[in-house]
């Protein structure tokens, strides 16, 4: 009796999760289509009609030194921007290690380059936690966090997808966009470096960005 109930409950849970997966997939496909269209438009807009709306938004965040940050963080120097979280098992540490190696290779060439690690898990990532985490990759790196509402605004501005995924035992992980965004000194989006992109290709893109800014 109890065992049957247990199985029924388990089946119910599985069914619920299957539905959630189906809905999540549909939402993702929709978002991806939208993002692709948006990026397509961006490329056209930035070559023909100047500044685009991609990456533009208004938000109030805090950096790992406790200083207020807003959309002007991208003005005045070229930047690289990465969204992640410190409970990230693989993509974030790998990307941080790759960024550290870019900065090391570029050396003085990259002295004007700023790098931002913006958490998509602000509930767990305090300024202190993101600070130590981000600083590991080099002194260019600034860790950024904020309230969930403000993080949602900057993520939306950059078309970044992120979502909590529950794990066993009240824990959770985050799915998130893993690309690194390249931004010129006027805050204009100039392209991305894909997850695990070849180092020489990434360096080429960074040098290109630095030359333009």
């Amino acid at each position: 009796m109890t065992a049957t109930r247990g199985i029924e409950m388990a089946l119910h849970t599985i069914r619920t999760w299957l539905w959630i997966s189906v809905i999540a997939l549909a939402v993702t496909v929709g978002a991806a289509a939208l993002l692709l269209r948006q990026q397509g438009t961006t490329a056209v807009a930035s070559t023909s009609t100047g500044p685009s709306t991609f990456g533009k938004g208004s938000y109030e965040l805090v950096d790992h030194r406790g200083d207020a940050m807003d959309e002007t963080m991208f003005i005045g120097q070229p930047s690289v921007l990465f969204f992640g979280f410190t409970h990230c098992p693989e993509v974030c540490p790998t990307t941080m290690a790759e960024m550290a190696s870019w900065f090391e290779t570029l050396g003085p060439e990259a002295q004007d380059l700023r790098a931002y690690f913006v958490t998509v898990d602000p509930e767990r990532d305090t300024p202190e936690i993101v600070g130590e985490y981000a600083s590991w990759a080099g002194e260019q790196m600034t860790g950024v966090t904020g309230t969930p509402e403000e993080i949602a605004k900057i993520a939306k501005a950059w078309g970044v997808y992120y979502e909590k995924v529950p794990l066993e035992g009240d824990d959770y992980t985050m799915d998130h966009t893993a690309s690194v965004y390249l931004i010129d000194d006027k805050g204009e989006f100039q392209g991305t470096v894909a997850y695990r992109e070849d180092k020489d290709t990434a360096l080429g893109k960074l040098r290109n960005l630095l030359a333009k800014s």
């Binding site: 990230c88 693989e90 540490p93 066993e168 893993a178």
Partner: protein
Amino acid sequence: MTRLIQAAFAAAVLFATPALAHNGVVHLGPIDISLPFARATLPNAPVGGGFLTIENTGAEADRLISASSPAAAEVQLHEMAMDGEVMRMRQLEDGIEIPAGGTVTLEPGGLHIMFMGLREPFVEGEEVPVTLTFEQAGSVEIKLPVLAVAADAAPAHDGHQGH
């Protein structure tokens, strides 16, 4: 909860079959485990990944059903995948099947052992013990050498193939 985990771990160690290792391969009945490694963790990162190759030389399928370690509060089996630009990660509640005569590789970008609630950061050059439990073959403790943060694979041992 912690007590329960500790008890479960103690039990796992108690029942762990002594493993024969040579050429870096750990044998557990028909199961061969090779090329184990973990990645060093960043400051404040409370999670770490473990990777290895499992070969089933037997005639029956087996299943890696759980893992445990004194190095972490909780150890789970996970799969990550890139979906376009988005990284997705899922817990594999039913474990990982190792088909008869088949080889399954836990590697960056795919299947992995997920250490959660690390007691200490994983430091390059150190080792992380982990007890793997298979449905058929039982349990075995192995040590994962900790490599660099973005290490892709353990250095291959000469002659580890052909067992």
